[in-house]
Symmetry: C2
Subunit: 435 residues, 2 copies
């Protein structure tokens, strides 16, 4: 078998066999197939597509390119949640302890953010001492013990995906439904989970700009899960405005802690509960959303969800006191009030640009080498449909560097739109797809 | 400017600006743009195409990526011929001295063969001592002095093309009209020539399988030449059977020498004369094909064409006696007679497979690292439409290694087709396109 022949087939819109995909991924993992050959494959796959069989084979081989976590005969229900990424999306952080406090187990391998804001790992690391670099053995033990563990993609997990993901980022082949499916699902299935809830984002702050594309991606991932005997549900949620109020790493930890105390923003609570309900239903803990919501309210009110968060902080080497004493979180002291330039309803966010504004303050990475400043970010006080008067504080920018502030402010100005007409009501969850 | 944005544009079928192509080629030449990013570009360009402006800009920037040969105020008419490649195509070798003997100057930078048989350089090097590695200064001087010089692509000439060509070979992005155009034309225009004759091959032994595709490629290259103020003519010629009788490096030198003595095969003479006539017309030496043909006959009969060949051999460090004493050429002593398996007309060659058969004997390279054996090859005694009786000698295989012989014989068996019905007459030149 020759890689050139595989590239020629995909270039000519022919279907690749299982054997060819095995050859491709094994060769790429071992280095026999070069980055430039894989880049040509990624572009051909982007333009000519991969069908359901090809995508399933690609996912399976990428999963098998490294270790697959093995929980042995552990009896707990293992479930995870994955988001395709959005601005202000810290849902995993309140969700994991909340769901774990209901007796479900969440072994979560997360990524770092590239482009706008930080990823879950960056947010967690903003709590001093929080260590996401645990071994797979520690990962398994901690999950069994406290019900949650949150680590980064180790070298052992899906090395083929790790290489391919960096390559796609450098070659503009990211936004392919098949390649996104294989990347997400190979990593998640390598966690050894039985169930998976996917939060597929759509809108001005997401990869997927239309509900149609988001639904295609959701269906593609759900189908792969089904082929591999996992229960998968995808929720399609709206990224036409940032999630919650906070954008920026320690600010988002603060907001996550507030949510676990019952004081978080309505949309964060709403989405956390809805995604969490899917997880509890899969695990058989509840039968309906209503039951799940009641259980979550109870776990928050009793403090059990908060205690679980503290257990997580402790297990990862951070000070559990941070949950109650926010002075432990590094939050920038310099603040800038971003004012409404006119009277009117907020009718549109260019959500991605809000994320870029936070990145320019230092909350995200332009390139992989950039170092995140955990202390900076944006508190966005207004939502779509809110009426503001000229001079009202729309957002507070937390910053360290005047030059970065001015870049962030400039960018934010172009990201918020006002009008005298009230927009139609914002709907957070747009659709749901079951396996 | 970011390479990712350029890749995204081409991926999304948008037109690239001149500035973007400058950025692409400069970055690739300097190494700022990686092989994997260029591979993604090549695949996107292959699948989504490049228009005439993009192709012209790509050609121009690739030409400028290295030295452009400068003949200063030299008054001679500088012209070259380029073939897109075929089996048994040694036309450059008799053509260059024949045309130079008519007072036209030919600075020829050639390639090596990859895939089936050797390239012009490999054929020349089969004459002991022949050195194709001259400096650009020697190249200019030799061309001025004797009217011809034949060298390989030096490091100074179109380094961007050199890198891109190897990359395309490894990523199955060779057969793109725009990329072929840019590759050929950038190299040829870097020779400092005023005129160019292109021999665009079509058929079972060529890249282009249909006359339609060959015409598109010819028109694309002629258009680029026009944009750059060069006179360009493209001849579309038939590769449904090997050119001449000989396939293999020193065998093809022998056939070239025979042609210069007026004893070559009819098709070699025909194509050499037709391509040469275009060159003489561009240079203003003759007005019509008939005049050119008469002049060529005279130059052959008088021995002037042969003398020019000897001058070339001498200038490149080979023994000019080889022109008359073929024992100087390394030709394998072991011969195998390939017999007709049945009575019938020869109705079809899979010409590429005939080339592969010669390659398997050792006359070509499977990979860039393979070393060519100049002594081996095939003398194909029959042409399309010839009638053979079972047991007639169709070809003689010159070989060194019994194992390689059996591979070559096996391959040749599948490459020749016989039938009781006489096929339609073979036409060598199918079309001609002027700038």
């Amino acid at each position: 078998m020759r890689i050139q022949d595989i590239l020629r087939k995909k270039r000519d819109k022919e279907k690749l066999t299982k054997e060819e995909i095995v050859f491709l991924i094994n060769g790429y993992t071992s280095g026999d197939i070069t980055d430039y050959q894989m880049a040509a494959f990624a572009m051909a796959a982007f333009l000519n597509g991969l069908d359901a069989d090809e995508t399933a084979n690609l996912t399976f081989e990428m999963m098998k390119s490294g270790s697959v976590v093995d929980f042995g005969d552990f009896k707990g229900f293992l479930v995870d949640k994955h988001s395709t990424g959005g601005v202000g999306d810290k849902i995993s952080i309140p969700l994991a302890p909340l769901v774990a406090s209901c007796g479900v187990y969440i072994p979560m391998i997360s990524g770092r953010g590239l482009g706008h804001t930080g990823g879950t790992l960056d947010k967690l690391e903003s709590v001093p001492g929080f260590n996401v670099n645990l071994s797979l053995e520690q990962f398994i033990e901690t999950t069994k013990e406290i019900g949650v563990c949150l680590i980064g993609q180790t070298a052992e997990i899906t090395p083929a995906d790790k290489k391919l993901y960096a390559l796609r980022d450098a070659t503009s082949t990211v936004e392919s439904i098949s390649l996104i499916t294989a990347s997400i699902m190979s990593k998640k299935l390598a966690e050894g989970i039985k169930g998976l809830v996917l939060d597929v984002k759509v809108g001005t702050g997401a990869f997927m700009k239309t509900v149609e594309d988001a639904r295609k991606l959701a269906e593609s991932m759900v189908a792969i899960g089904k082929k591999m005997d996992r229960t998968v549900t995808a929720v399609i949620s709206n990224m036409d405005q940032p999630l919650g109020e906070m954008i920026g790493n320690s600010l988002e930890m603060l907001e996550s802690f507030e949510t676990l105390k019952g004081r978080g923003p309505a949309d964060i609570k709403d989405l956390t509960f809805r995604l969490g309900a899917e997880m509890l239903k899969m695990a058989g803990v509840v039968k309906t959303d209503e039951e799940a919501f009641q259980l979550f309210e109870k776990k928050i009110a009793s403090g059990e969800a908060g205690e679980k968060m503290k257990e997580i902080l402790k297990a990862h080497g951070a000070d559990p006191k941070a949950f109650d004493d926010y002075s432990i979180l590094p939050i920038a002291e310099k603040k800038y009030s971003f004012l409404a330039p006119e009277d009117g309803y907020i009718t549109k966010f260019n959500t991605e640009e809000v994320g870029v504004s936070a990145m320019l303050l230092g909350a995200g990475r332009k390139t992989k080498e950039d170092i995140i400043d955990p202390s900076v970010g944006i508190a966005l006080h207004k939502k779509l449909g809110d009426y503001v008067k000229k001079g009202d504080v729309v957002a507070t920018l937390y910053y360290q560097d005047d030059n970065k502030l001015s870049q962030g402010v400039d960018r934010l100005k172009g990201a918020i739109f006002y009008s005298s007409e009230k927009p139609v009501e914002f709907k957070l969850v747009l659709d749901k797809i079951h396996s």
